[in-house]
Amino acid sequence: MKKYHILVVLFLAILFTSCEKNGEMIIKPIQKIMPFNIKGFVIGDTLEQYFDGRKIREFSAWSKYDGKIVFDSDAPILMEIKRKGDSKALLSQTITQDRPNPEQYITFYYADKVIKEKYTHPAPIANLEQISFYFASSVNMPVDIVYADASGDINAVTYLARNVQSNKWIDFLQIPPLNSNGQDLYVFLLKAGTKEWLVDNNFELSYIQANLPVDGGWYQGGGVQAIYIQISKDGKPGLSAVNDLVSTFQ
């Protein structure tokens, strides 16, 4: 009879040790929801945002999230920003439920493989407009920066900078109020060293939204602009994703 007892005990032991009534909830109860805002600019790379070690989203170029953060326990939440290529943590912040000014944006600026809290720029100079450009492109696509009126006459352009290389900031141009003969003036891009508009040789497609000070005009300068613009798509010229980093970080 002993062996029957052993079998019965073994059976019951296996049966009850494997029972598990309560599992772990997939959707955890929400303890608190707080505002959470983050914005920044990423140049030349892709960054990843992690919360408590879980990747949530990717950042490249202009990046922003305004919304809420969810606490499902008393524990603080660790936010990290990591570089996509090597997963190196560039920024870490612990978010607590008693965080002061929760609506305030967390900001970051990433360029040249370095992350900073903000983009920095020169101080404004009265009556001088300071403008820098960054032409992002998957292939190097040198351009000439010009300004002109809206006539589309390529022979009537004035050069601001020549043979500007892709994927780097140019030094700030200092532009005094320009003589426009009563016309509005615009910034255009030409293929470097040519008399050809950058995009499809069409001046309307090669125009950049940038403020130029005009003599006697509504804007007399004194501002600072750092214009980031994507100038190619799949290796072909095309303007998109225009951002002024100075206003972005204000």
Binding site: I33, R57, G67
Partner: protein, 1113 residues
């Protein structure tokens, strides 16, 4: 092993030395005393011993005896350590004490004057047994046949089932078997070994002359092979099967998995059977001869995963019909037989453990479990369904005051409270336990007479199994899910998920039988309890909101169906033999109860948060929705009772040199079924005030007090969510049949059956608002049907059969098939609604040639043709106002199915006949090739008149394949069955299968070809009492894949642009490179659209490895 032998030798040497030393000392010391002593008696029977205490060990007892008797004892230490003997009475003679101890412990004593040596006695010889069955040349059993053992003169008779069992001393024997009107057979050289069973089935041939007594002599080897032939020839006719021994060579857990290994049989989801490509509803399942109820609420179907294989003695699929079969089928009759009365006493215990590579180590999800889920019972936490539920939808509008409503807010709150809370709801993650199974089986046989057959026996068995399986759904594009990716090259735009099955199965069986030479009474009783909790969790985009930049996150859908099934079958069978007349009768009751308790459906919201992209949450439905809503829980109860009676009489007679059986019988079947459902949608009137998405669902019960009728949650019940279907059917059948054996080569079985059937639907409410005004369209039903059949078997050689048969059969509608209850079937991914089904009448034609080249070997080829009048099929149609296609069951006009079947089972002994290794290797294979053609018809609704839409049939011009059809099926395998080692490898292949049919390709669905490779290694040890089996199933991790021939793969035929109401084949043709088969296609440049077949559903079940141990006591 070496050390142990060495230790034993040293021990023996030590014992022998000690014994010799003891004997020498005793002899030398006491010789004088012994010789001089006259005062003590030398007769052990005169020496009285009084034992006041009962010593524990033999050495202690002998010490006491030594003191009290003056005799000395010599024995080894091992004998001295013996315990567990029992002595009765305080005063005994020394002789009695020693004799009793020696009897109990298999010892003997040797006396030399006053020295008594106690030594081990040799083991007594165990008898062997001869057991088998006495049959005639048709394989029919011969009751009360005389069996004489020539050497001993002993005589016994076979039982009414033809079986006999002789216990006899080991040796060589000759049996003489006789039966009136049959040639007596003498079988020589029957070798009986100690403790072993010698199987011998004996076949007697009819005597050509009634007066002349003829005795045929043969040896054991020849007769045992002949016996096997007769069984094969009669069992392998137009039936195919698998025995318990063959089942034990597979890794199958339940009968559903086993069926796919039989020629011409395939399964759907491993639990529903398709025979010869003919779908589930045309097949009938019986357990010990009684029809099993339908376990699928919406169609005639039995889910074979409910029967564990370890309870089964054999599974036979009959494909041709004889008039004595009381069940209408067209594909096959699946006969499951549970283990019968044993031929010897036994106790066996088996246990096993298994893992699945897609389950273990992965998250296992489900809603809250009950305390007794592992035992297969609910602990009460799923009981949320009280009686007397109010119709809230029709009588309560939360926007109105109590004075304006028939039901007040307080009454709604009271009902909410009665139903109870939501604590169990919400998905959780568990750890998946390995599968475990245990079975204890006891068989006992009592012979109540030494001279006559009076056998009483029983088999009792209890088994437990728990299996947890996680299957990965790699693709879901059925039902409401997005039918295609927005951009076919976006690998993230896919709907995926998991199906989790938590299954506990308890099965008990008690079969009792009593046999005499002429009578047999058997009782079969089986109770199965199965708890199967299927939880589907899918993540993806639905058809109305496909993936886009504004809808980047997928939604989640959860569907949990905790189903408790009870099957109880009690059956009493009697067989009686009165010379040439034999009678058999049976009565049975089968009860099925299937309850889904707290089955829950939830559609989850998604919302992006900083730390969740997205965060999923449950949300209540809208109070204004009269349907089941986005979140509902429910109870679905199906009950069916089948009561069957059967009576058959057979009369054997001879006419000249021919022998015949005239058989007649009657059967009745009464079935009653009810299906009730109570669905509880959880809703809110104004969802904008309280954000329930941010409140855990387990706490929703706290927000049901209706103090604020607009913001409170409540259970929105209605007449559609709380109703019951009820139906009953009665069948009476009678037949007359002749079984003619004309000469030794031709056998005819022919006759006719008359059958009365009536189905009454007692209650038939609709479960959806949209169905309340539509009515079922039914063909006129004939109550009486007359069904002739004939089977001919010609055997030009003893090892060859040529068979031909014709039979008419009728497949009646299932009790629930005309129900207006409809529900989403997770296996079809669509809602299933009936459009009304009537009887299908089938003409079946079969032909088959069988050759038995050797014992256990078979080569056969067969052809079949079937004509169906009004076949019922699963169609997918899209005629509802919602625009979402659904599946319906409805009759087509006619169908024709034809096919070829091949089977080979051959030993490799022909290569080197004397090699036992090759003799033990068998190659097996079966192949089925079939095709079908259907004249379809479609129900359309005339909506010209206001009010109720009028249904009518539209008859299709172009034929198509039958639903469930598989054009090619094969199984191949190899088996090595050595003395101890066994190896078995099988590969099961199923070609394209029509899963759901339709008049348009983009609504029909096919299953892609699938092959499954299984391997088993077994080894027997401990004198073959213990067997270990390692099973590996689905070694290639073959998925189940379904697809639809998408509209992008075909184009409008030129010139047919204006034929808007024409059939598909008139208007369309496949584009170059595309056909009805699966073609992956390509992504169209610019649009990102897939130009190819749509993969509608893909599921991986993983590889399973299990180890089992069984021990026979």
């Amino acid at each position: 092993m070496y050390n142990s032998t060495k230790r034993s030798a040293i021990k023996l040497l030590y014992s022998m030395t000690r014994l010799t030393f003891l004997m020498t000392i005793v002899t030398l010391t006491f010789s004088g005393v012994i010789l001089a002593s006259d005062v003590k008696s030398q007769n052990l029977k005169d020496v009285k011993i009084s034992l006041d205490e009962k010593p524990n060990t033999l050495s202690a007892l002998l010490g006491t005896l030594e003191k009290k008797s003056g005799f000395s004892f010599a024995y080894t230490q091992e004998i001295g350590n013996i315990t567990g003997f029992h002595l009765t009475g305080k005063t005994n003679t020394l002789y009695d004490v020693l004799t009793e101890i020696c009897r109990q412990k298999n010892l003997r004593f040797v006396r030399e004057n006053y020295l008594i040596a106690i030594v081990r006695a040799p083991k007594p010889q165990q008898p062997g047994r001869i057991s088998g069955k006495i049959m005639d040349d048709r394989g029919e059993v011969l009751p009360a046949a005389g069996i004489k053992i020539v050497e001993t003169g002993a005589f016994i008779q076979s039982g009414v089932d033809g079986t006999y069992n002789i216990a006899i001393k080991p040796g060589n024997y000759t049996l003489e078997v006789s039966y009136i009107s049959f040639q007596t057979k003498r079988i020589t050289d029957i070798n009986v070994k100690e403790g072993q069973l010698t199987n011998l089935n004996v076949t007697l041939n009819p005597s050509t002359s009634a007066l002349q007594q003829v005795t045929v002599t043969g040896n054991y080897k020849k007769e045992s092979v002949a016996g096997l032939y007769v069984q094969q020839k009669n069992a392998a006719g137009l039936t195919d099967g698998i025995s318990a021994e063959q089942i034990s060579r597979t890794p199958d857990r339940h009968v559903g998995e086993t069926l796919g290994r039989i020629t011409g049989v395939s399964t759907t989801n491993g639990k529903r059977v398709v025979v010869r490509g003919i779908a589930e509803r045309y097949n009938v399942a019986t357990l010990n001869g009684s029809v099993l109820p339908s376990t699928d609420v919406l169609q005639r179907n039995f889910e074979f995963d409910l029967i564990p294989t370890n309870m089964v003695d054999q599974v036979v699929v009959s494909k041709s019909i004889t008039p004595d079969m009381p069940y209408g089928f067209a594909g096959g009759l699946v006969q499951i037989t549970t283990k019968a009365i044993p031929s010897e006493n036994f106790i066996s215990f088996s246990t096993g453990i298994g893992i699945n590579d897609r389950t273990q180590g992965k998250d296992f999800m489900g809603y809250g479990r009950g305390k007794y889920d592992y035992l297969g019972f609910d602990d009460g936490t799923r009981n949320r369904y009280p009686e007397g539920i109010l119709d809230i939808t029709s009588n309560f509008d939360p926007r109105k005051s109590d004075a304006q409503n028939k039901i007040t807010a307080a009454q709604v709150a009271e009902q909410n409270k009665r139903i109870g809370g939501t604590e169990r709801l919400g998905a959780r993650i568990f750890a998946a336990a390995p599968s475990q199974n245990y079975q204890l089986t006891i068989g006992r046989l009592y012979s109540l007479s030494k001279t006559k057959v009076r056998k009483l026996g029983y088999i009792g068995s209890a088994s437990y199994r728990n299996t947890q399986r996680n299957s990965y759904i790699a693709n879901m594009r059925r039902g409401d899910w997005a039918q295609r990716a927005t951009d076919a090259d976006d690998i993230t735009d896919v709907n995926t998920g998991n199906r989790y099955n938590f299954n506990t199965s308890l099965a008990t069986l008690l079969n009792v039988g009593f046999n005499t030479e002429k009578h047999q009474l058997n009782s079969y009783n089986m109770y199965n309890r199965v708890f199967d909790n299927e939880f589907n969790r899918l993540t993806g985009w639905d058809n109305e909101r496909p993936k886009s930049s504004s809808n980047p996150y997928p939604t989640v859908e959860e569907d949990e169906r905790p189903k408790f099934t009870d099957i109880l079958q009690n059956k009493l069978v009697g067989k009686h033999s009165f010379g040439n007349l034999s009678l058999d009768w049976s009565g049975s009751k089968t009860y099925l109860k299937q309850v889904e308790k707290d089955a829950t459906y939830a559609n989850l919201n998604n919302r992006e948060y900083a730390n969740y992209a997205p965060l999923y949450s449950y949300y209540p439905g809208q109070a204004s929705d009269p349907g089941w809503g986005t979140f509902h829980r429910g109870k679905f109860s199906y009950r069916e009772t089948n009561t069957e009676t059967m009576f058959n009489a057979a009369y054997n007679f001879r006419w000249g040199n021919t022998s015949h059986i005239l058989k007649a019988g009657y059967n009745s079947q009464y079935r009653r079924a009810s299906n009730s459902w109570l669905v509880l949608p959880i809703v809110v009137s104004n969802p904008s005030v309280i954000n329930y998405s941010e409140i855990p669902i387990q706490e929703w019960g706290n927000y049901m007090d209706m103090k604020n009728r607009l913001t409170s949650l409540f259970y929105n019940t209605s007449k559609f969510t709380d109703a019951e279907f009820e139906g009953k059917s009665i069948t009476h059948g009678s037949y007359l049949m002749l079984d003619n054996k004309i000469g030794s080569k031709l056998r005819l079985v022919w006759g006719a059956r008359a059958e009365y059937f009536r189905l009454d639907t007692l209650k038939n409410p609709a479960s959806l608002l949209i169905d309340q005004n539509t009515k079922l369209l039914l063909d006129e039903e004939k109550n009486w049907r007359f069904m002739p059949s004939a089977n001919a078997t010609y055997s030009p050689l003893s090892s060859l059969n040529i068979r031909a048969s014709y039979a008419k059969s009728a497949v009646r509608p299932g009790l629930m098939e005309n129900s207006r209850f409809s529900r989403v079937d997770p296996n079809l991914g669509s809602r299933v609604r009936s459009n009304g089904v009537t009887t299908t009448s089938i003409d079946n034609y079969d032909a088959k040639i069988e050759w038995f080249p050797g014992a256990g070997e078979l080569i056969s080829v067969g052809y079949f043709y079937k004509h169906f009048d009004k076949p019922a099929e699963f169609y997918r149609i899209n005629n509802s106002s919602s625009g979402i296609p659904y599946v319906t069951l409805s009759n087509s006009e006619w169908a024709k199915v034809s096919g070829w079947e091949f089977e080979v089972r051959k030993s490799l002994n022909f290569i080197l006949p004397k090699t036992s290794f090759l003799n033990n290797i068998y190659l097996m294979g079966n192949l089925t090739i079939q095709k079908s053609e259907v004249k379809g018809r479609e129900i359309r609704y005339n909506t010209d008149k206001p009010g109720k839409p009028e249904p009518y049939y539209y008859y299709m011009k172009y034929p198509r394949q039958l639903y469930g059809q598989v054009p090619l099926l094969y199984n191949i395998g190899a088996q090595y069955a050595g003395d101890k080692l066994g190896l078995n490898i099988t590969y099961n292949y199923m070609d394209y299968k029509t899963s759901v049919t339709s008049s348009e390709p983009m609504l029909a669905e096919y299953e892609r070809p699938r092959g499954q490779l299984d391997l088993q290694v077994s080894y027997r040890f401990l004198s073959k009492r213990m067997e270990a089996k390692l099973n590996m199933s689905n070694l290639t991790d073959a998925p189940f894949r379904f697809f639809v021939n998408d509209a992008y793969t075909y184009q409008v035929k030129p010139g047919t642009e204006n034929l808007l109401n024409a059939e598909w084949a008139e208007r369309f043709e496949y584009k170059p490179g595309f056909s009805e088969k699966f073609e992956k296609g390509y992504t169209e440049e610019g649009t990102g659209i897939l130009i190819g077949d749509r993969e509608s559903f893909t599921r991986y079940i993983g590889r399973t490895y299990s180890l089992s141990l069984s021990y026979k006591f």
